[in-house]
């Protein structure tokens, strides 16, 4: 029986191009500054800390300058999923890019696996994973792959933009480890969340309670285009390490985005992180899609990811591996 070789495609210039960049170092090793807590309110599940609720102006020029100061990388993934009779197949393209001198330089990891509730099938094939909860198990595997891929391939001393929230339902510990590992390599992961119905702010800030549908709704009303909110820190009661700092950032006159950073990174490098909000603002404008405010490098990573996944014909792959005939033809591209 064949095995799909997961493969990594690395731009031939991946390492060379970094050397030409000669950018500033990001030193994340510094001692933690104290977060001046003025108001802390609490809820059942976690604590929210913040200083003042304020809107800060963002400046494109400032953001642009940062692009020439630091190496900026971004991650995104594409997933091709087939729902079959025998289980679900996934073809995933994890893509990391960084902004090179004259080009975006990608590294792409293509992986394939197949989930089945059939133990028998699973035993026969190395790409096959036995599971009862196919969907959530798949998410876990994908997330895990992403963390490993980024640990191995992100450029040292860089800023790393990631599409999606820092903590998802699963892999909390791994995510924390990941962030701490990145800190050691002086890589600063910043998460960008587009659509969210989270209510951490509105639920915890007394004056905002019951007034808004979600934090996004609040931020949209509160911020003008070109502004961000102050940073909030959120800590879960159960797991104090599951903690993040976040703010809302509004570029165009539509729903803002939420920017998340690992709490310790924020506390250690508050000034830097806050400066980087100008960068994100600039990168969203550089992308320039008013309907889809996303930092440009993430969009670029996404398109590399889409292109690379096209290289593989999942149907053919399935046949080759020997799970022919049990697939239905439903094919859809899912972006987690």
């Amino acid at each position: 029986m064949h095995k799909f070789q997961n493969r990594i495609i690395i731009d031939p210039n991946f390492f060379l191009s970094v050397e030409e960049l000669s950018k500033k170092n990001i030193d994340l090793s510094s001692n933690f500054e104290k977060f001046p807590l003025i108001s802390a309110e609490f809820l059942n599940e976690g604590n929210l800390y913040f200083n003042n609720i304020v809107a800060e102006n963002l400046f494109v020029e400032k953001g642009q300058k940062i692009t020439s100061d630091y190496i900026i990388g971004a991650y995104d993934e594409s997933i091709n999923k087939y729902n079959g009779l025998a289980g679900n197949a996934y073809l995933i393209s994890h893509t990391y890019i960084y902004i090179g001198k004259k080009d975006y330089i990608p590294a792409i990891y293509l992986s394939f696996f197949f989930f089945s509730r059939s133990k028998e099938l699973a035993v026969k094939n190395t790409n096959l994973i036995y599971s009862n909860d196919l969907e959530s198990e798949a998410r876990k595997v994908i997330h895990d792959q992403m963390l490993e891929f980024l640990k191995e391939n992100s450029i040292k001393n860089s800023i790393l933009l990631i599409d999606g929230p820092i903590f998802t339902g699963s892999l909390t510990t791994k995510t924390i480890d990941f962030n701490e590992y990145m800190v050691e390599k002086n890589i600063l992961p910043i998460y960008i969340v587009k659509n969210s119905i989270s209510n951490l702010v509105c639920d915890n800030v007394f004056s905002l309670k019951h007034k808004y549908n979600s934090d996004m709704h609040w931020a949209y009303k509160f911020l003008k285009p070109g502004q961000r909110s102050n940073f909030f820190i959120y800590e879960e009661k159960k797991s104090k390490r599951r903690a993040k700092a976040f703010c809302y950032l509004k570029t165009f006159d539509i729903s803002p985005v939420r920017i998340e950073v690992y709490k310790d990174i924020y506390l250690g490098k508050q000034e830097l992180v806050e400066d980087l909000m100008h960068l994100i603002y600039f990168l969203i404008i550089a992308q320039g899609e008013k309907q889809n405010p996303q930092p440009r490098p993430i969009i670029i990573a996404e398109s590399f990811s889409r292109e690379s996944i096209k290289l593989f014909n999942l149907n053919k792959l399935m046949r080759k591996i020997g799970i022919e005939g049990i697939m239905n033809q439903n094919r859809n591209m899912v972006n987690f």
């Binding site: 004259k102 080009d103 975006y104 550089a286 320039g288 440009r296």
Partner: protein
């Protein structure tokens, strides 16, 4: 430095530049696609840039620079397959697979692809891009030249183009090659100024680009060693022309020797069909002469004395007849005979024949640039062509000959039939077997006598009106053809269909810029 094959699209190979390429490969560039030991040579037919990341217009609005990476450009190329270098022998042709890499072809590969003839006529390949034309270069910045097969001479050549674009210079270049490399004889008719009469002198230029071109083909300027200008003995050169007398010889026409048909050269501006009887009238008169050593004036007197305009004729097949010329025709001929008389029977001028022309490694120029010179040339040219054809047909000479006629229509006015073209038509049709070549040169291709168009296999257009060359089936834009710089031309070349835009090296002799 490479381009990467994307695939085939409607018969063209599509390629995209890889990152290290920082520019557009102009149309006409030759690329070599490598596939292990096999190679495929393709020629770029379309080339443009794309910006894969399309920077946001918002930033431009805000007057911001944006990201350098977003300014990345790629060169997309469409190319046609010219030649495969492959040992495949099963009758199939290789796929050109996606992802294969291509690079600029080397000079040698281009030569291979276009069936370059070693020892042929060196010519530069060139290309038009964004309204500017340039010589193609290989990766080492060497101008790419190929060698055209000398066979093109014997399949007749047409050189056209607006004034001052390089027609005459190209003729000179080809002439010198013919003399020196083919060891042939060249007969050229000089119709304008000193165009062709100083080819005994080496060309002079300070232009760096020209010097470089000469260097690229390994040549230095030099005059033609065996060079001779014939000029009508009733004319003379002004001293400020600064000519070297030893290359110049006065000539005259000899009524005893001249072929009767050549007299049609006198009838240049007479459209009257009846005028075509002149050679037959002359033949009959000549035939009836009892003494030799008669003169042109004798014939003139005979002709002018026939006030009843009735003449005995004798055609070339020996049939006798009688005609009466219409009054106007008679008067016209009389006038032309009168004005031609000064070219005849001058003891200071020698009468030249094919023997003066058909000598190896030599070039003769008949200079008819003087007043009334065209009529003189028209007679002499006809006479010489007749003699050359005869000598070559009878085998009394095996010297290859190239005849260069500038402004051919001036010598063959109203010559729309093969008869009227006479030996010129014969020459063009038998060129290859007899090693006779003709270069016609003219500003407007429409000036070429109709009957000749079909026998001309190589056409070279220097800067020309688009409307004029369109009918020759070239697929070029008005911009491309009208703005061709001096020395650059669009061509269809016999035996080398792959070549389109070329640049002539400057002639090694007789050009002083």
């Amino acid at each position: 430095m490479s381009w990467i094959v994307l695939g085939e699209d409607k018969g063209d190979i599509s390629l995209v530049s890889s990152r290290e390429i920082d520019g557009i490969a102009p149309k006409g560039t030759y690329l070599t696609i490598e596939n292990g030991k096999k190679k495929y040579i393709v020629r770029v037919t379309k080339s443009f840039q794309t910006q894969p990341y399309n920077p946001s217009p918002l930033l431009i609005d805000m007057n911001l620079e944006g990201l350098e990476a977003d300014k990345k450009c790629q060169n997309i190329i469409k190319a046609v397959r010219i030649k495969d270098i492959s040992d495949r022998d099963d009758g199939l042709i290789d796929f050109i697979r996606p992802q294969l890499k291509a690079r600029r072809s080397t000079v040698q590969e281009v030569k291979n692809a276009v069936r370059d003839k070693k020892e042929g006529i060196p010519i530069f390949l060139s290309t038009v891009f964004a309204n500017s034309i340039q010589i193609l270069k290989d990766n080492n910045k060497n101008p790419i030249h190929i060698n055209l097969h000398p066979e093109i001479f014997f399949h007749q050549i047409l050189i056209c183009g607006k004034t001052g674009r390089g027609k005459t210079v190209a003729s000179k270049y080809l002439a010198q090659f013919f003399v020196e490399k083919l060891k042939g004889a060249v007969l050229a008719v000089n119709v304008k100024e000193t165009d062709l009469i100083k080819m005994y002198k080496k060309s002079e230029t300070k232009e760096g680009s020209i010097l470089k071109e000469w260097e690229a083909i390994g040549k230095k300027p030099h005059g033609i060693y065996n060079f001779q200008v014939f000029y009508p003995s009733n004319t003379s050169y002004s001293p400020d022309l600064d000519i070297d007398k030893k290359y110049f010889k006065p000539i005259s026409l000899d009524i005893n020797e001249i072929d009767p048909e050549s007299l049609t050269g006198i009838l240049n501006n007479i459209t009257d069909i009846a005028a075509l009887h002149l050679p037959d009238i002359f033949r009959h008169w000549k035939d009836s002469q009892t003494t030799t050593g008669f003169r042109f004036m004798n014939f003139y007197n005979y002709f002018s004395s026939r006030e009843n305009r009735e003449f005995q004729t004798l055609n070339s097949r020996g049939d006798e007849a009688q005609i009466k010329l219409p009054y106007g025709t008679y008067q016209n001929i009389l006038r032309n005979l009168n004005s031609a008389s000064e070219f005849f029977d001058d003891p200071n001028g020698e009468f030249i024949t094919e023997k003066d022309i058909l000598n190896r490694e030599s070039m003769c120029v008949i200079d008819v640039a003087s007043k009334k010179g065209i009529n003189f040339g028209a007679i002499l040219l006809r006479d010489l062509l007749k003699r050359i054809v005869k000598a070559k047909t009878e085998g009394s000479s095996d010297v290859p000959i190239l005849i260069i006629i500038d402004e051919v229509h001036q010598f063959y006015k109203n010559a729309n039939s093969a008869e009227a073209l006479g030996d010129l038509d014969v020459i063009c049709r038998t060129g290859r077997s007899k090693e006779i070549g003709v270069i016609f040169s003219s500003q407007n291709p429409n000036d070429i006598p109709k009957g000749l168009e079909s026998v001309i296999n190589t056409k070279i257009f220097f800067g020309s009106e688009h409307s004029v060359i369109k009918k020759f089936g070239f697929n070029v834009s008005a911009n491309e053809i009208e703005n061709l710089e001096r020395g650059y031309a669009l061509a269809t070349i016999y035996g080398t269909p792959q070549v389109k835009f070329i640049k002539f090296p400057l002639s090694f002799s007789g050009v002083f810029i």
